[in-house]
């Protein structure tokens, strides 16, 4: 469940979430901050992932939510702390299961505040499903 951590900076937040058992959530208040956070994450070796499968390809990854939250993303977030993640490929109708390596990985969702509110209202409770959260 998400809780508002109060690290002094996003740099500190990115350090704190290493080895956590939940997906981290970074909330940007506008486009400018959004871009700034993305840049900081890149600087800390977080690789941007374009899809769910990509989240496991690097020890440190982040995923950007710009519009509607993809159902796959939501499924991923809620399963991540449970020790096993099943990713279903709708095109091939095939499941792939993955075991998170909590000790050596960190995964962050980057979302802007307005979008987050819309997603929450649609019933995808990202705030409860993610772990540590950061907003400046």
């Amino acid at each position: 469940m998400s809780h508002t951590s109060n690290p002094k900076s996003i740099e500190e937040f990115l350090f704190v979430i290493q080895g956590g058992k939940e997906v981290g959530l970074v909330i940007a208040k506008d486009d400018e901050e959004f871009a700034s956070f993305a840049k900081v994450m890149e600087g800390f070796d977080f690789k941007r992932s374009e899809n769910i499968a990509g989240l496991f390809k690097s020890p440190k990854t982040y995923f950007v939510i710009t519009g509607d939250v993809d159902k796959d993303v939501y499924d991923f977030i809620v399963q991540y702390p449970t020790g096993q993640v099943e990713i279903f490929d709708k095109k091939l109708m095939r499941s792939q299961t993955l075991s998170p390596d909590y000790k050596n990985s960190a995964i962050v969702l980057l979302v802007d505040k307005d979008n987050l509110n819309k997603i929450q209202e649609k019933g995808f409770d990202l705030l409860s499903s993610t772990g540590p959260a950061f907003q400046a």
Binding site: M1, K71, Y74, D75, V78, Q79, P81, T82, G83, Q84, E86, F88, K90, K91, L92, M93, R94, S95, Q96, T97, S99, P100, Q120, E121, K122, G123, F124, D125, S128, S129
Partner: protein, 624 residues
């Protein structure tokens, strides 16, 4: 090697077994020649026990999968720090195990922080069972779950079909494969679209019938299903209560499910324990009480055997009344008032489930099995503790009370009938005789004062108290004097104990000397020792020997609940208490452990033995 007093063995074997057999003809009887055919009762002691082939969750045994590693089986190492707390995690695993064992679909309604999905996956990891996970929040496409035609990704020749049918998440969980057991998790069940719920209920109905699921998505292919091999569990957050988009389900839809209500938030005590356990301040598995276990048997009874269970007819009559009362309470919102998810107690489903529970879990005590079934199918639907307590009172009424046949046997378990006055009068007579004899020894000088002091054990006459005082002045061991007070509960004796404490005699010794004394003052002294904390609780437990008062029984129960007193001490501290309550305590707490049961009749102290030899076994010694 443990040696049992022959009398104790005789007592358990002849007295208790005969009662059990009167009570229940299906109790395995070792004296019967055909006993080898009777199913063996299996009782587990650790909350979760594991063998090469099984995992036992609070007594409920599930068989591990024989197939090897599979991508759908969660990895065990992911759950190394799983906390087995006694309030949520362990009962949840037990109840999930019951549902898996019986093949019933289970719907668990509870807050997001309780770890519902993690718990199911952790059990699957232990059992080597596959997980097929579908989150229904935002899912609108039935075909994702049941399957659809897709372009054939393997097409390499012209004759290969253009399209092939591919299973959905649920269908892959329904397909039977050699050596595999599969769990289908339907997460966020109450966030599902109505068309999906309808389709899933068709699947549930097919599983219940043990027939085929017809895949309308695949030209009506019939997929054989088997609830022994596919387990369905739905999870949901409580509607409302901050969970946006979760509407209450139609109660009529719930009737297909065994519905279990968990708290909306982690209870305070569980939060505290789990946090301590995570930091290593507590073990990762919490101590549990025996009543949390389900006793299981190998194999099930057949429906034809049900009428053979003595007392079943009486229990059934009371169950019918219970069911009506439970429905009425629910209908009038006397229970579950603040639960947003409405539900019913179904007139057809609930009795059938209770019957199946009895078939599977009956181990010789129809009251215990029936009451456990009612807790599982009725109380488990309630969130509020007050509601559960109300149901618990009703459940306890659903019992069979056998007609007690008065024992004609003479000896320790019956003896000649005497009233309390006669017992007291006789005890005084004995005490006077012993006092006189000890005075004689003292005058003659043939026996040491220390031995005479010990010889006064259990004797509370004024002359005996005077002798003790003189002995203390003469320098006789204070510990010997303390031990000699065993069984003496007079005001003078209590005063002497206090003085001995002041003089440095350990509280453990004084606690032990309270054996056979069940007066209010003695109980107060025990409680004070516990409050002070500088006493070995085992001494207090052992020092309850011969006391069968309600307060003493409560103290024993508390020791069991706290879990920090050796059960051996609690058992041996029950010796000499032979009233109805003490036998109930033995049955409830030691019946699964013969050693403890027998120990509860064995006196391991010469001082206590002395009292019993002098005053006999009748009832609670504190009365004498």
């Amino acid at each position: 090697m443990t040696f049992y007093h022959p009398q104790a063995l005789l007592f358990k074997h002849k007295y208790m077994n005969s009662l059990e057999r009167q009570f229940n003809a299906l109790t395995p009887d070792p004296e019967k020649k055909d006993a080898s055919n009777a199913p063996e009762v299996i009782i587990e002691k650790t909350p979760i026990a594991e063998t090469e082939t099984d995992v036992v969750y609070l007594g409920v045994t599930l068989e591990k999968s024989k197939s090897g590693d599979d991508q759908f089986v969660p990895k065990r190492e992911q759950y190394a720090d799983f906390i087995n707390d006694k309030e949520v995690a362990l009962p949840l695993q037990r109840d999930i195990a019951i549902a898996f064992l019986s093949g019933e679909p289970l719907l668990v309604d509870g807050g997001t922080s309780l770890g519902k999905t993690t718990t199911v996956r952790k059990m699957a990891a232990e059992l080597g069972w596959e997980i097929h996970y579908a989150n229904l929040n935002g899912a609108t496409d039935v075909e994702d779950l049941m399957g659809r035609y897709i372009p054939n990704p393997h097409k390499s020749k012209p004759e290969d079909p253009e399209y092939i049918f591919a299973d959905g998440k649920v269908t892959s969980g329904l397909r039977q494969e050699e050596g595999k057991t599969k769990i289908v998790i339907l997460d966020e069940f109450n966030a599902s679209a109505p068309n999906i719920l309808i389709r899933l209920h068709e699947v549930l109905d097919a599983l219940e019938r043990g027939g085929d699921v017809i895949l309308s998505e695949d030209a009506s292919e019939a997929v054989p299903v088997n609830k022994e091999r596919t387990k369905i569990i739905a999870l949901m957050n409580p509607p409302g209560k901050g969970y946006f988009g979760r509407e209450p389900l139609d109660p009529a839809q719930l009737r297909r499910w065994v519905y279990k209500k968990l708290p909306s938030e982690l209870p305070e005590s569980t939060f505290s324990y789990s946090t301590d356990a995570l930091f290593g301040a507590e073990p990762t598995s919490q101590n549990v009480t025996p009543d949390m276990f389900i006793r299981t048997r190998e194999g099930s009874l057949t429906p034809e055997q049900l009428p053979e269970i003595p007392g079943l007819i009486e229990v059934l009559e009371k169950y019918k009344e219970f069911h009506k009362a439970a429905k009425e309470l629910l209908k009038n919102r006397k229970v579950a008032e603040d639960q947003p998810q409405a539900f019913t107690f179904d007139d057809r489903m609930e009795p059938r489930r209770v019957r199946d529970f009895v078939l599977r879990f009956y181990t010789g005590d129809i009251n215990e099995t029936f009451q456990q079934a009612l807790r599982y199918y009725y109380s488990n639907k309630l969130e509020n503790k007050a509601d559960r307590d109300m149901f618990e009172e009703l459940i306890r009424v659903v019992e069979y009370k056998p007609t007690v046949v008065p024992s004609r046997r003479k000896g320790i378990e019956a003896g000649p009938e005497r009233n309390t006055e006669e017992i007291i009068s006789e005890s005084f007579e004995i005490a006077e005789k012993i006092t006189k004899k000890m005075e004689q020894f003292l005058t003659e000088g043939s026996v040491s004062k220390n031995s005479i002091a010990l010889g006064l054990t259990g004797v509370g006459t004024a002359a005996a108290m005077e002798m003790r005082k003189q002995f203390l002045t003469d320098g006789v061991s204070k510990n010997s004097i303390a031990f000699s007070l065993t069984g003496v509960g007079t005001a003078a004796a209590m005063e002497m104990r206090k003085q001995l404490l002041t003089d440095g005699v350990p509280k453990n010794t004084i606690a032990f000397s309270l054996a056979g004394v069940g007066t209010a003052a003695a109980m107060e002294m025990r409680k004070q020792f516990l409050t002070d904390g500088d006493v070995d609780k085992d001494s207090i437990a052992s020092g309850l020997a011969g006391v069968g008062t309600a307060a003493a029984m409560e103290m024993r129960k508390q020791f069991l609940t706290d879990g920090d007193v050796d059960k051996d001490s609690i058992a041996s501290g029950l010796a000499g208490a032979n009233n109805k309550e003490s036998f109930e305590f033995r049955e409830n707490n030691f019946n699964s452990d013969d050693e403890l049961y027998l120990k509860s009749f064995i006196i391991e102290s010469v001082e206590i033995d002395a009292i019993i030899c002098r005053y006999g076994f009748e009832g609670d010694m504190s009365k004498t």
